[in-house]
Symmetry: C2
Subunit: 198 residues, 2 copies
């Protein structure tokens, strides 16, 4: 039971290395498989598509539980917002450079971004289910989950595409902006005259 995971890891590492060096489109599955010392067929036994080797997201259950634990007196969006905040606090900050490289690759390629949204939709379903379990309509649950995850994913893509700051800071920013009383906010808003640049 250990060899499968080992091959899987080797494939992921080979993929990230090759793709980071030559780009996603210029890297074939054959090359990745060969670099991992394995046959192309074996690649697809571990990952259903070439894109999937870069998209590994096992966080959904934690998030679902955290949302379900929020007090039902709150508005759906607020429950999702707090649930995501608590789930994030429980997860380890992925300071590994590998994660950032992966996110950067994904953020820079349309097809990969698209697949990532599909992962997000799975998370959305989990959250919506947690809300529905306490009487929220399906439409409202999907909207609330969609809004919060839309904000979160935007922060993630920005982290991947632009330098500076940690992922945690951006997640925090996204959650803050979703807060019901999010009018004040220090530095950036309230500018009307010149266009502040960054």
């Amino acid at each position: 039971m250990g060899k499968k995971a080992q091959t899987r890891t080797r494939l992921q590492e080979a993929a990230v290395t090759l793709i980071a060096a030559h780009g996603y489109d210029n890297t074939t599955v054959d090359q990745i498989a060969e670099a991992a010392g394995v046959t192309p067929m074996t690649f697809f036994r571990h990952f259903p598509s070439k894109a999937e080797v870069l998209l590994d997201d096992p966080y959904d259950p934690v998030i679902g539980d955290a949302v379900a634990a929020q007090p039902k007196s709150l508005a759906p969006i607020e429950r999702v917002r707090r649930g995501l905040g608590e789930a994030w606090a429980d997860l380890p900050e992925p300071d590994h450079e590998l994660t950032r490289v992966r996110v950067r690759i994904v953020a820079g390629h349309p097809l990969l971004r698209a697949r990532m949204w599909e992962n997000t939709l799975e998370t959305q379903r989990v959250i919506a289910e947690a809300l529905r379990a306490s009487g929220v309509s399906r439409l409202d649950a999907e909207i609330a989950a969609g809004a919060c995850l839309g904000a979160l994913n935007s922060a993630l893509l920005d982290w991947g595409a632009n330098q500076g700051g940690t992922l945690g800071e951006r997640i925090q920013r996204a959650l803050d902006m979703l807060a019901p009383e999010s009018t004040p906010l220090a530095e950036s808003t309230t500018a009307e005259g010149g266009s502040t640049d960054d």
Copy 2:
């Protein structure tokens, strides 16, 4: 200059008809091309991929202008929310059955949903640009746009996946839930036992 658009339309109609009947995966580009009286190569001259024949979205400029027109004293999310509401009011309700068939097909297939998110990201960029033009930071702009479009797309997918109600009603619901004062909502009588807060 009219023949190209004509062929394009024939390809779209043939695609929707065939795919609605036999499913996306069971319909090949060859079949679509043949039904449109054209060569497979010509298909790809009109649409960069098989998926794109179902995804036609020329609304972005209207939305960007509407967001840009909002008062700069409002919080970013609120500006996006109002801008989207006004843009929607200016657009014709797509009561055509064709639109619903297309949305239903897209909502029901992972690969198509994923491509749709990529379209949404384009809209997000337009909105974020409108916000940034008045001093909002890039991160804040992307988050605000991402949150609102996440809510909106959830409403759209729900409309495609489930019967009942018009698209306009669901859009309205999504925008309402994003409103700053959206606390009320039905069964809010429960006591706050272990009041969790930040």
